[in-house]
């Protein structure tokens, strides 16, 4: 059995769990004055977590994006597209949902290859 490696393990969750060359990243939220800024900060946070796991944004397999209001889709998507390296877009799903931390408008979770 391949080992499970965890980064940032707390009482509720690990920021990252790594197994068999696949990196599982928790839902990330981040402050910001707009959805665009929040998205940029979330993606910067994901960059950092992926780097710590020996991966990067060109190796994302699947992403789930939750928006508290689907009207913010374009704003999120603009920041997302500017962040993604060309030719390396992951599979993605985007859904409207309330988040556990009420101050935030966007949360993103990703799974990536190491």
């Amino acid at each position: 059995m391949a080992e499970v490696e965890r980064i940032g393990a707390g009482p509720h969750l690990s920021h990252v769990a790594i197994h068999a060359g696949v990196v599982h990243v928790s839902g990330v939220v981040s402050p910001g004055s707009s959805v665009r800024e929040q998205t940029q900060n979330v993606l910067a946070g994901i960059d950092e977590l992926l780097r710590g796991a020996g991966s990067d944004k060109a190796r994302i397999l699947m992403a789930t994006v939750w928006l508290t209001d689907m009207r913010h889709y374009q704003e999120m998507d603009g920041a997302w597209e500017a962040w993604l390296p060309a030719g390396n877009a992951p599979a993605r799903a985007c859904i409207e949902a309330k988040l556990s931390l009420l101050d935030f408008s966007v949360a993103i979770a990703v799974t990536a290859a190491q």
């Binding site: 059995m1 391949a2 499970v4 965890r6 393990a9 707390g10 009482p11 509720h12 969750l13 690990s14 920021h15 990252v16 769990a17 197994h19 068999a20 696949v22 599982h24 990243v25 928790s26 839902g27 789930t64 939750w66 859904i95 949902a97 309330k98 988040l99 556990s100 009420l102 949360a107 979770a109 799974t111």
Partner: protein, 114 residues
């Protein structure tokens, strides 16, 4: 190519699907009068499915928690924290969503190493 093994496979869904040393457990629901009770039952159900897959909660990689009311986040978390294997929490995301039936208040799906 490695084989796919399914656990309690029905005409629409399997309770769990195993591939390449990873088990994917479908969203588990439960009856119960409170979020606390439902969370406890759901986690017991996940324990049972993980056991059938030949693994356990210390090997969790990722979890998605859906609550019908995000205000019950702390109530879910208190049961979750008591359940989770110390030092081995999965990556996790928690979102508010409508669930199958009006009585359902929490649903959890997980991915684990086998």
């Amino acid at each position: 190519m490695s084989d796919i093994k399914r656990i309690e496979s029905g005409s629409r869904v399997s309770h769990a699907v195993i591939h390449n040393g990873v088990v994917y457990v479908g969203g588990v629901l439960s009856t119960g009068t409170s979020v606390r009770e439902q969370t406890k039952n759901v986690l017991q159900g996940i324990d049972a499915t993980l056991q059938r897959a030949g693994t356990d909660k210390s090997k969790l990689l990722s979890a998605t928690v859906w609550l019908t009311d995000i205000a019950t986040f702390d109530e879910m978390n208190s049961v979750w924290d008591a359940w989770v294997s110390p030092g081995n929490p999965p990556a996790r995301a928690c979102i508010e969503a409508k669930l199958l039936k009006p009585g359902h208040r929490v649903e959890i799906a997980v991915i684990a190493a086998v």
